[in-house]
């Protein structure tokens, strides 16, 4: 008897280990059927379920109980059952609900991409492009905050925060003293430190990497350059605190920024320490490996040429071809 369970997502069947979430099952297939995730972060325990961007429709619960689930579910927190059938991009209901979530997320997130340091690396920017409306229907005053320096290396710009809780989980799980969290409730909620304490410990810089928008930024990099003008290079060093595996972001011969390496879903592979991130900005500090691979879909890929290929998942599936018609047309054009 197989110890795997079968799940079908947008018509594509995959066998996964029991306990796998729908999102991670979709990631095993890859391509456009992978739901977006703004708050889920595979390296952070307990994350996910909050932003609701990953919602999908379960049209068949399982082989044993084929009834559909009554509501859309958060794919990052719903585990698969044997025989489950899921609709993501093939469900108009999901697309509409997701566009609703994007609209809500953008209510209190300024579209200041031209000056935001996260531009080019922002999940919300991509999501807004894919699902957003051309103009907002929200006509009321947005909430605004003063920028706060939380420590000498990190700046919090609450205006842009979408309350994904990733930084709170990061501080909770990989640092030894969490001093920041969520204050207030509802749309008055805000990330803050305990009476504006500095966030100061070996791994605090990772909150910058996990932030999906530009709310937490690296003060050593802020406004030094646009990310797509930089050249990312994988490098490593012998670090006593962390793995020392990083990405160096070069402009000419200068290392402008050091970040953890990220996977295709924008999640760090391994968290890095503050020494690697903030204090080692000379090429001599590092053993250079190779240029970082940047996905074709990212704006950062401009000037980092790579052949644009149609996703294999879509190529063999008529339903997915239809659902991805616009994207495929672009591919053909290229």
């Amino acid at each position: 008897m197989s110890d795997k369970v079968k799940v079908t997502i947008d018509g594509i069947t995959v066998e996964v280990a029991p306990g796998t979430t729908i999102l991670n099952a979709a990631r095993q297939i890859g391509g456009d059927i992978v739901p977006p995730a703004m708050c889920y972060y595979s390296k952070l325990e307990g994350s996910g379920g909050k932003c609701r961007t990953c919602i999908v429709k379960v049209s068949k619960g399982s082989e044993k109980d084929p009834r559909p689930m009554p509501k859309l579910v958060a794919s990052c927190r719903t585990t698969v059952m044997d025989g489950m059938e899921v609709q993501n991009i093939t469900s108009p209901e999901v697309i509409e609900a997701r566009s609703g979530v994007v609209e809500m997320l953008l209510i209190n997130h300024p579209l200041d991409c031209p000056v935001c340091d996260q531009a080019g690396e922002c999940d919300l920017q991509n999501l807004g492009y894919e699902h957003g409306l051309q103009k907002t229907r929200y006509e009321f005053e947005r909430r605004t905050f003063e920028r706060i320096d939380i420590g000498d290396k990190i700046q919090l710009h609450m205006n842009r925060c979408i309350l994904c809780y990733r930084c709170v989980f990061t501080a909770d799980q990989i640092t030894n003293k969490r001093v920041h969290g969520i204050l207030n409730r509802g749309d008055h909620s805000e990330i803050s430190t305990y009476i504006q304490t500095a966030v100061d410990n070996d791994f605090s810089g990772n909150v910058i990497d996990v932030c999906p928008v530009g709310a937490l930024t690296d003060k050593t990099f802020r406004f030094k350059n646009r990310v797509w003008f930089t050249k990312p290079i994988d490098a490593h060093r012998d670090c006593p605190t962390c793995s020392g595996k990083v990405t160096l972001w070069y402009k000419g011969e200068d290392v402008l920024r050091v970040t953890a390496r990220k996977d295709i879903y924008g999640e760090v592979e391994e968290f890095i320490c503050n020494t690697c991130r903030f204090d080692k900005k000379k090429t001599a500090d590092w053993t250079i490996e190779h240029p970082t691979h940047i996905s074709d879909t990212s704006v950062i890929a401009s000037n980092h040429y790579d052949t644009l290929k149609p996703l294999p998942v879509i190529q063999d599936n008529a339903r997915l071809q239809e659902a991805n018609r616009v994207e495929l047309e672009k591919t053909t054009k290229f």
């Binding site: 909050k50 961007t53 509501k71 809500m104 209190n108 509802g186 749309d187 909620s189």
Partner: protein
């Protein structure tokens, strides 16, 4: 006179004391359960009774209990949800204030059935008088040997604690309640796992409403079959209803489920009719979170049958016309009441109480409130009405916990049934601003929605 099970002795002087409660037959259920029944037999009686959760969802209590995981060597907990704070719902507070021992007796019986040796009554923080009353009653019960070690010599131990809550509506959601009880921020947990598998401190836990727990006392005293004979269909037993709004006699009433809504409103035994001889305009049957119904649908189903105070009847008629029994917070509006203002008021509450964890609820509740405020205060646009419908759809079903639905339903249903009135607010901003105007005198379109049958 209708049969009363929970409020039978409500008028007996000093019924809140242990001695008087005992003289009136109190704690018989504890003696019967602990001395003559096994825990499984108690669960079976509750199943037979057909009791449905009185907190709002109406899930069968016995079935909920049977879901409780029973791993060896792991503690199990019973938590009483006394965080009642929805606008229009105040029946648990009444029960705790006047007959606290009914709840404590129910807690002992229910804890025994579930194999819990430590139980909690989680009371909303603002209810300090009720917290003091319960603490005193627990001390009395303990002195009499009904709590603590080796209760009544049966070998069963139970410690019962009262825990003041965080003072937030969301802490009444069962998983947020557990988070709060554990000393954390009261944010709902993502389910599964359900509390029956991993609840308080990660242990199997049942969370029940005050009224549900108190109802186990007559069920054990008289037997589940006897309890199931009261009521109608799958709505068995009696139900506490907190009636408010423009009624001659608002208050907390115990009814037998199946009572016609019309009788509840107009009979002298219950609410005595609409105050000041006005006509009924609308009702909210189960607390502010359930859909509002216009007068005609409050009293009759879409097919003309009388609407009954029961879980099934109040939700019948399809989503377009139905409402819900909810927690039994019955609110009546007379013909002069402004539905837009009322909807804004409800919306203001849900905006204030959203925990802020998930995006649609955090941002959507505030958005709806602001649009409703604009409509109510004479700055609305016709497109605002459809905008509200659309935003409520974007929230409904897309949130972690039911607060999103609770915020969306009142808005969507008010527009569905009283769209004329929303449009009138746009067309007549000056008149709609003046709250001293009798709306029925000035708004011809509104009069159309008022039932002429009463």
């Amino acid at each position: 006179m209708a049969r009363k099970l929970l409020l039978e002795h409500i008028n007996v002087p000093d019924i809140h004391t242990f001695d008087v409660y005992r003289q009136k037959g109190g704690y018989r259920a504890v003696e019967k359960a602990l001395k003559t029944l096994t825990p499984d037999e108690v669960v079976e009686e509750v199943k037979k009774s057909g009791l449905r959760g009185r907190g709002g969802a109406g899930f069968p209590t016995g079935m909920k209990w049977s879901f409780l995981a029973k791993p060896e060597g792991v503690a199990r907990y019973l938590v009483c949800n006394a965080d009642e704070s929805e606008p229009g719902t105040f029946k648990d507070r009444y029960l705790m204030t006047h007959i606290p021992h009914a709840l404590i007796e129910g807690m002992i019986v229910s804890s025994f059935a579930l194999g819990a040796h430590t139980s909690y009554i989680y009371v909303r923080g603002e209810m300090m008088p009720q917290i003091r009353i319960l603490e005193k009653a627990i001390a009395e019960a303990k002195n009499a040997g009904f709590l603590g070690k080796n209760i009544l010599g049966t070998g069963y131990d139970l410690e019962l604690y009262v825990q003041p809550g965080g003072g937030a509506y969301i802490c009444g959601e069962e998983t947020a309640l557990l988070e709060s009880l554990e000393g954390k921020r009261g944010n709902p947990r993502i389910k599964p796992p359900f509390p029956a598998i991993a609840g308080l401190y990660g242990c199997p836990t049942v969370v029940n409403n005050v009224e549900s727990i108190a109802a186990t006392v007559p069920i054990i005293n008289d037997g589940g079959d006897e309890y199931a004979k009261i009521g109608i269909g799958r709505s068995t037993g009696t139900k506490l209803i907190s009636a408010s709004g423009n009624l001659v006699r608002p208050g907390v009433y115990e009814i037998e489920l199946g009572l016609p809504v019309e009788e509840f409103i107009y009979s002298d035994e219950w609410c005595g009719g609409i105050a000041n001889g006005k006509r009924l305009k609308a009702t909210v049957a189960g607390g502010s979170s359930v859909p509002i119904l216009p007068a005609n649908l409050s009293l009759k189903l879409a097919n003309g049958d009388p609407r009954l105070m029961s879980y099934e009847s109040l939700s019948e008629g399809g989503f377009a016309t139905g409402s819900m029994m909810g927690s039994g917070g019955f609110i009546a509006f007379d013909e002069d009441q402004c539905i837009v203002r009322n909807t804004w008021n409800f919306s203001r509450f849900y905006h204030h109480e959203s925990c802020g964890q998930c995006s649609p609820c955090r941002e959507g509740t505030g958005w709806m409130e602001k649009v409703l405020h604009r409509l109510e205060f004479g700055h609305g646009k016709m497109s605002d009405i459809d905008l509200l419908v659309d935003v409520s759809k974007k929230i409904e079903g897309n949130t972690i916990c039911p607060l999103g639905d609770a915020a969306a339903w009142p808005v969507a249903s008010a527009i569905r049934h009283f769209r004329d009135e929303f449009e009138w607010h746009v067309n007549e901003p000056v008149k709609s601003l003046d709250t001293n105007y009798g709306l029925a005198n000035y708004a011809e379109p509104i009069a159309k929605t008022v039932s002429t049958e009463n």
